[in-house]
């Protein structure tokens, strides 16, 4: 467990999430992809903190990432519900079409 291996794992998680976020059509699945990317970020940030500068302020960044995730999810769910109610759309490109 050295910084490089932690970052490798984080990069793998981030890339898998990126693939999901780019390729999935369903809004909720895109959100899962984003979550996975943030998951990688958490791991990378934790690794940086521990191996580079284990002073207290670094951890705050992690908490901010986690908070960002929850906000993203909550708003994502709300938007998905609203979209579903209005147009029965749950696919990203349907949502894009609706804006025209």
């Amino acid at each position: 467990m050295i910084l490089q291996t932690v970052l490798l794992v984080a990069a793998a998680l981030f890339s898998v999430g990126l693939y999901g976020a780019l390729s999935q059509q369903v809004v909720v699945m895109v959100m899962m992809g984003l979550e996975l990317m943030l998951n990688g970020l958490i791991l990378a940030a934790a690794g940086f903190w521990w191996f580079l500068s284990p002073d207290p302020s670094g951890q705050v960044l992690l908490l901010v990432i986690i908070a960002a995730m929850t906000v993203e999810m909550a708003m994502g769910f709300a938007v998905a519900t609203a979209l579903h109610r209005v147009r029965r759309a749950d696919m990203t490109d349907m949502a894009a079409d609706l804006s025209r």
Binding site: V9, A10, Q24, V28, P54, A67, A78
Partner: protein, 187 residues
């Protein structure tokens, strides 16, 4: 030694379950695969001595994925919960981009001459985090708190279907409210 073994097991677990999210056919399995991936990362963060952040990651993400599974089942119209699905577009490009990004990040991780460790970890990491949040980084805490509260309100407003006028009538005087099913405190 045991930390290294644990780290690698968790690392492989996190990556595999992360990939499983986009491979499995069932919505329930996809969301709980993501939950397992988060649990693995949370435990890895525990291994990196950041106990609070690690445990909070597990806590938040299991809850989120429980809700996620419900949304999946609710909104995935034609029920891919049971159907083998292939709801992707531009699969090839997405794959190329993400592999490229991975190579880039991996190269960066391996080739960058990372500086030596500055400073030493505080004796009580969690207490240090708490003090940091409540003293120098108070602004972060305050901002996060406000954003969270705003999220709750905004989320409910966005997702809610009925307004208070539906419940209490146009003059907001109807008591008890007209609900499809009455709630517990009888408003």
């Amino acid at each position: 030694m045991i930390t290294h073994v644990a780290f690698w097991i968790l690392a492989i677990g996190a990556a595999l379950t992360g990939a499983a999210v986009f491979i499995v056919n069932s919505m329930a399995r996809a969301s709980y695969a993501l939950a397992v991936s988060f649990i693995c990362v949370g435990l890895q963060v525990l291994l990196l001595q950041q106990n609070y952040v690690g445990v909070v990651t597990i806590l938040m993400m299991v809850m989120e994925m429980a809700v996620m599974a419900v949304y999946m089942v609710m909104f995935m119209g034609m029920n891919p919960a049971l159907m083998p699905m292939s709801m992707v577009h531009d699969k090839r490009h997405a794959l190329a981009v993400s592999i490229g990004v991975f190579l880039l990040l991996a190269a960066g991780a391996l080739l960058t001459p990372w500086p030596a460790r500055r400073g030493t970890p505080p004796a009580d990491v969690t207490a240090a985090l708490g003090e940091e949040l409540m003293e120098p980084k108070m602004l972060v805490m305050a901002a996060v708190g406000v954003v969270m509260a705003a999220t709750i309100v905004a989320g409910v407003v966005l997702a809610a279907h009925r307004t208070r006028y539906d419940r209490f009538g146009d003059d907001l005087r109807r008591r008890p409210a007209r609900d499809p099913q009455p709630g517990g405190v009888g408003r």
